[in-house]
C-alpha cells in the first residue's frame, strides 16, 4: 500500500485516522488495538448518511459489549490474523447467545471497524462467509479443534471457511458416496474467497433443505441481526450433506437429470473430522450415483451464489427464480457501469486539472469543514506563535503535512509569515505545503508523495534542521496523537479544542507542547 512503510505505523495512523472522521463512533473508547485497520476501513466509508443512523445504534450496542474483558476464544485464536481483519466486520452483529468466544472477540472487533459503514458490505460475500464462519466457530464446542487443526492442514487464509466446511461433511454412512478425490481437497482450497465464503454460507443455507423455511431465510439474515451461532447450531442438527466439491467443474459435463427428487433429508450426523476429500450424503429418495450427487452439489453452489448476489443487488429479495434475478443483476451491473461513466464525466468537468491534492473528500461535508476550521485556526495560531523560530515552524508544517496528508487531504491555508516561507516552496494554486514539496520531486512517481521517508529526505537537506529532528519527531508524535484525538472527538469537544487553542498564549515550546483536548 502506498500509505508508507509499515514501520511508520504511528505516522500512518494519524493521517488515516484523520481521514476517518466518524463522529458517531467512539473509537477513542476503543483506543487500543490496530488503528491502521479501522482508520483505513472507516476512512473510505464514504458519506454514509444512511449508515450514520445505524452507526449510532451500533455504537450503543457495541458499548454494551465492550466491557467484556477476556479474550479466551480458542476457536478464534487459531487463525488469528485472518480473524482480526474479518472480525472487524462482525462486531456489528453481536450474536446474543454466543458465549465468551464471540463476545470476547468483539472488544477487539470494535477496535477494528467503525460500525455503520459496513452496511454496504454487509451483503458482501466475504462478509457472509466471515459471519458464517465466525458464528460457526462460536456455535460448536468442537469448533476449536477445527480452528486449530485445519490451518495446519490447509494454510492460514483459507483455514477458516474451509475448515468449518469440513466440519459438516459426513465421513461415513451406508448410502454415502464420496464425490471428490483427495486431490480435490487442495483444489478446493483454490476456490476463490467468495466461493469459500459462499460454500460456508451454503452450510448455513443448504442445510435447510429439509427445513427450508427457517434456515434459508436465516441464511439471508446473515446480513441482519441474526444469531449466526444459533443458526449454525440448528444447521448442525439437520442433515449434513454439505460439501464443496471442486469436482463440480467436472460435474458440469455430466448430463442434466431433470428428475431428481428433493426427498426428505437423511438422518443427521455429528460433524466429522475433516478428511481429505469431500463427502456428499445422498438424500433420501434421490439417485445415489456420482453424477446426480455432483449435479446436486453444483446446483447448491449455484443457488448459494445466487443468494449472495441477491444480497448484493438491492431489490432482488422479492423476486424468486433464477431468470428474473439474473435480469435484475444485469440491470444493476449496467446501471453501475453507466453510473461510473457519468461520475467520471462529472469528475472531469468539476476538476479539469484532475488534481485531488487538497480534497477533504472522505468525510461528510459539514463535519469536515468544521474540523478543518478548527485545525486550521489552531495551526495558524501556532504558526503565528512560533513565528520567530522559523525553522521549527517549518518542521511543524512538515509534520502536519506528514500526518495529515498522505492522501493529500490536508487543507491548511498556512498563514505563515515570510520567514518560514523562505524555506518552503511557494504553494501555488492553493496547494498545501506537502504538495508544493512534492512537485519538485515528482519525478519519483513511484514513491508516494508524502512518504515519511520522503519528508525526511527533504528535512535532511536543511542542515539546521538536523539538530531538531528529535524534537520534530516528538512534535510529530504530539501532532499525530492530537490529530488522532481530534478526529475522534465529538463535535462538542471540537469546540473545546478551538477554545483551548487560545490558551496557548506565549507559553508554547514546541517540544513541550501538550495538546490539551
Amino acid at each position: 500500500m502506498n500509505c508508507g512503510p509499515p514501520d511508520q505505523m504511528p505516522q500512518a495512523t494519524a493521517p488515516s485516522c484523520f481521514l476517518n472522521l466518524n463522529w458517531d463512533q467512539s473509537m477513542a473508547a476503543a483506543g487500543n488495538g490496530d488503528h491502521l485497520d479501522p482508520a483505513l476501513s472507516s476512512m473510505v466509508s464514504s458519506p454514509a448518511s444512511n449508515s450514520t443512523a445505524a452507526a449510532a445504534s451500533d455504537g450503543r450496542g457495541l458499548h454494551g459489549i465492550s466491557p467484556q474483558p477476556q479474550y479466551g476464544g480458542t476457536p478464534l485464536s487459531s487463525p488469528p490474523k485472518l480473524n482480526l481483519s474479518m472480525m472487524g466486520q462482525f462486531h456489528h452483529y453481536p450474536p446474543p447467545q454466543v458465549g465468551g468466544a464471540g463476545a470476547a472477540g468483539l472488544p477487539i472487533l470494535e477496535n477494528l471497524m467503525p460500525m455503520g459503514h459496513l452496511d454496504q458490505f454487509l451483503a458482501d460475500p466475504g462478509f457472509a462467509e466471515r459471519a458464517a464462519r465466525l458464528s460457526g466457530f462460536d456455535g460448536r464446542a468442537g469448533g476449536g479443534g477445527y480452528g486449530g487443526g485445519v490451518p495446519g492442514q490447509f494454510g492460514l487464509p483459507e483455514a477458516g471457511p474451509v475448515g468449518a466446511l469440513k466440519e459438516l461433511e459426513l465421513g461415513n454412512g451406508r448410502d454415502e458416496s464420496s464425490v471428490s478425490d483427495p486431490a480435490s481437497a487442495s483444489a478446493e482450497m483454490a476456490l476463490k474467497a467468495p466461493s469459500d465464503g459462499n460454500a460456508r454460507k451454503r452450510k448455513a443455507s443448504g442445510k435447510g433443505k429439509g427445513k427450508d423455511g427457517p434456515v434459508s431465510t436465516s441464511a439471508k439474515d446473515l446480513a441482519k441481526e441474526e444469531s449466526s451461532g444459533k443458526r449454525c447450531k440448528s444447521a448442525d442438527e439437520s442433515n449434513g450433506a454439505e460439501d464443496n466439491s471442486a469436482k463440480a467443474k467436472a460435474a458440469q459435463s455430466t448430463s442434466e437429470n431433470g428428475g431428481k427428487k428433493q426427498g426428505k433429508d437423511s438422518t443427521s450426523k455429528p460433524p466429522e473430522p475433516p478428511k481429505d476429500y469431500i463427502h456428499v450424503r445422498a438424500r433420501r429418495g434421490e439417485a445415489t450415483d456420482s453424477h446426480s450427487l455432483a449435479e446436486r452439489v453444483r446446483r447448491e453452489k449455484i443457488s448459494q451464489r445466487m443468494k449472495l448476489l441477491q444480497d448484493l443487488v438491492p431489490g432482488c429479495n422479492k423476486v424468486v427464480g433464477k431468470a428474473v434475478m439474473l435480469d435484475e443483476i444485469i440491470n444493476y451491473v449496467q446501471s453501475l457501469q453507466r453510473q461510473v461513466e457519468f461520475l467520471s464525466m462529472k469528475l472531469a468537468t468539476v476538476n479539469p486539472q484532475l488534481d485531488f491534492n487538497n480534497l477533504p473528500n472522505l468525510l461528510s461535508k459539514d463535519v469536515r469543514t468544521s474540523i478543518y476550521d478548527h485545525i486550521t485556526t489552531f495551526c495558524s495560531f501556532l504558526l503565528r506563535l512560533l513565528h520567530n523560530s522559523s525553522y521549527l515552524t517549518y518542521q511543524l508544517c512538515n509534520q502536519m503535512q506528514q500526518s495529515c496528508g498522505p492522501l493529500q487531504n490536508s487543507h491548511f491555508p498556512l498563514e505563515t509569515s515570510g520567514a518560514p516561507m523562505t524555506y518552503i516552496n511557494q504553494p501555488h494554486q492553493g496547494n498545501p505545503l506537502g504538495c508544493s514539496l512534492t512537485n519538485g520531486m515528482d519525478n519519483q512517481s513511484s514513491m508516494h508523495p508524502l512518504d515519511p521517508a520522503f519528508c525526511r529526505s527533504m528535512n535532511s537537506q536543511h542542515p539546521f534542521l538536523n539538530g531538531v529532528s528529535d524534537s520534530t519527531s516528538q512534535v510529530g508524535t504530539f501532532w499525530q496523537d492530537d490529530l488522532q484525538s481530534v478526529v475522534h472527538m465529538d463535535m462538542g469537544q471540537s469546540q473545546e479544542m478551538a477554545t483551548s487553542s487560545n490558551s496557548y498564549n506565549g507559553s508554547l515550546q514546541t517540544v513541550h507542547m501538550k495538546m490539551e483536548l
Partner: protein, 198 residues
C-alpha cells in the same frame, strides 16, 4: 472480499495516484479524453486494489479474471498507453498487453469450442425436449431464459467470456462488489471537489 475496508483504502489511494498521473499526462482539454482518462484510472485502480486485497491469488487462478481483463481491455487501445504506463509502471503495462493478446487468442479458441459445443447441445436438446415432453416445457423455457441472460452477463462482465454458470456468477459477484465501491469512491471525489470549489 477479504477486507472491504482495506480494499477501499487501497482503491482510493490508487485512484488518487492514478488521477494525478492522468491530470499530468492529459493536458488535453478535451472533455471526453479527460473523462476517459478518469475512467481508465479508476478501472485500473479497482483492478489493482482488488488484486492486492485478495491477497495471493488462489491456485486455481481464474479468480482475478475480471480485473486482468479490465486492464487488458484498456491496454488494448493504443492511445491509453502513456497513461497506463505511468500508472502501472512499464512492467505492469507489458503484463496488461500480454493479457490482452492472450485474451484475444483465447477468444478465438473459445468461439470455436462454443460452436462445437452448441452443435452438440442442440442435438442433445432435441433429445431432451422429446424426452421431457409437455411437463418439462416450462422448465425448458426457463432454462433457455437463464441461458440467454447468462450470455448477456458475459458481455457485461469483463473477462467472463468463457466462464460457465457457477464461475460466471462468482465473477459477477466480485465485479458487482467492486463496481459498487468504485461508484462510491467516485461520488466521494466528486463531492469533495465540489465542496472545495463552492
Amino acid at each position: 472480499m477479504h477486507a472491504p475496508g482495506r480494499f477501499k483504502k487501497a482503491f482510493m489511494e490508487q485512484l488518487l495516484l492514478g488521477l494525478r498521473a492522468a491530470g499530468q499526462a492529459s493536458k488535453s482539454m478535451g472533455l471526453r479524453e479527460r473523462r476517459d482518462a478518469v475512467r481508465l484510472s479508476s478501472d485500473v485502480a479497482m483492478a489493482l486494489a482488488s488484486s492486492s486485497a485478495r491477497g495471493a491469488p488462489p491456485p486455481h487462478g481464474a479468480t482475478a479474471s475480471w480485473a486482468r481483463a479490465l486492464v487488458a481491455r484498456h491496454a488494448a487501445e493504443r492511445r491509453n498507453e502513456a497513461l497506463l504506463r505511468r500508472i502501472m509502471g512499464g512492467a505492469g503495462y507489458e503484463m496488461a498487453l500480454a493479457a490482452a493478446a492472450a485474451a484475444r487468442g483465447r477468444k478465438d479458441a473459445r468461439s470455436r469450442r462454443i460452436v462445437r459445443r452448441s452443435r452438440r447441445v442442440l442435438s442433445a436438446g432435441r433429445k431432451k425436449r422429446t424426452a421431457s415432453g409437455g411437463g418439462g416445457g416450462g422448465a425448458m423455457a426457463a432454462r433457455r431464459m437463464v441461458k440467454a441472460r447468462m450470455k448477456v452477463l458475459r458481455t457485461l462482465v469483463p473477462g467472463a467470456d468463457g466462464l460457465r454458470g457457477f464461475s460466471l456468477l462468482s465473477e459477477t459477484l466480485d465485479y458487482v462488489a467492486c463496481l459498487k465501491t468504485q461508484v462510491e469512491l467516485l461520488q466521494c471525489l466528486c463531492k469533495g471537489s465540489r465542496s472545495r470549489l463552492g
